[in-house]
Symmetry: C2
Subunit: 227 residues, 2 copies
Amino acid sequence: MAKAEHPSEQEGGAIRRRNEQAILAAAERVFARHGYRGASLQAIAEVAGLPKSNVLYYMGSKRTLYVRLLERMMERWNAMLDDISAEDDPAEVLAAFIRSKMQMSRRHPEGSRLFASEILGGAPFLQEYLRGELRDWVQSRAAVFREWADRGLMDPVDPVWLIFLIWSSTQHYADFEAQVLGITGREALDDDDLEQITAFLTRVVIKGCGVKHPAARGEDPVSLTGR
Amino acid sequence: MAKAEHPSEQEGGAIRRRNEQAILAAAERVFARHGYRGASLQAIAEVAGLPKSNVLYYMGSKRTLYVRLLERMMERWNAMLDDISAEDDPAEVLAAFIRSKMQMSRRHPEGSRLFASEILGGAPFLQEYLRGELRDWVQSRAAVFREWADRGLMDPVDPVWLIFLIWSSTQHYADFEAQVLGITGREALDDDDLEQITAFLTRVVIKGCGVKHPAARGEDPVSLTGR
DNA sequence: GTCAAAGCTGACCATATGGTCAAGAATCAA
DNA sequence: TTGATTCTTGACCATATGGTCAGCTTTGAC
């Protein structure tokens, strides 16, 4: 019978692992580009360099393949978002927050677009996650932000809108890559561009929310270190 | 023969106009939700309350229907983005910019999502527009922002990243509506929420970019009027 | 009322879709 | 070598896709 409960666990032989990886990578690209309905198993199979039957053999169905990709992406999210507490330095936390979200857009652009496509389509598969886990996560961070505001470490802005601001402005560089490249006239954004954008966003958010350093509370609203 | 060169011009009888409107509205919804490939004429026809043949009769093909929707959306964009000059008040211009973009997300959420879907898919139909018209528009605004920075009216931030910041953070409330609603636990965002978000974004951007009022250049970095 | 133009739509077509299956090929522990 | 397990894949199926078309009805100017 079955060996493990978690299908996402790495199991099976080397062949299986290799083929599954190829299929997952191909599927992420195709789903991201065309959405769930618009993606075809034929196209995924071609990108993966396998016959369509083989894709079905490993993944069972289009639906389970798609769900598996979403779950993998959510794992990446969860791995990124470590804990914070009200004792931490707001500027550092916000900077780290922006940086890690920006790196997510950089390292997993297809995954980011897959996620965006799912939400754009009304989040038919992620409703539960959004209203559950993710909501709790946001609420807990919001509570920390509020405490910072109460302590005078930052302006009393609405924490949820702030989180959305950071999410959107970083996610943008994955989801709207085609627009960014078209307008800037580049072939691709390099590490230097990303570093610049990260610095810009960090600066605007920290300064815009009046974040102060806990030690020197009086002034010096922005330190803005490159790293 | 043909009567006009511009197919987007309103022409034809009342019946045509009415049916075309119904089809365009339905198609915008379906395309926004499922992308170009994922949308089916059958689904569009059902939403419009017409037989599939009738959709083809008016629109010719799926492709032309889609292109027509994109063109309509680009017209809305162009209508929104009026001219600015370096003589204007930076704070006012940025505030108006954010406000109008926010209203676009509010008034045309389906259109915004349609646009997002197109970009997400690599902008196969909008490459020309992005690298041409829109790029010119961005460059001209960027020049104004730079002049403001030179005059000391705002920090010397990269104007293009600033424009992307405003675009993404406002567009977010249309494209990621499902996420926003799921996390906030609401059924919909009302006018009051939107007003609050607009004020928040305006505040963060203006303060975050160190925008000063031209008259009182010394201090008062944020006036933050509700309207 | 006449009649051409516009509107309407079910039947139809070639193709593509997600998915099944059976039968063979490769792998590997014993 | 054996035998069981895993892997591979072309043939096949029901359905859905975008699009065509012929023939019908409705509309509106005269």
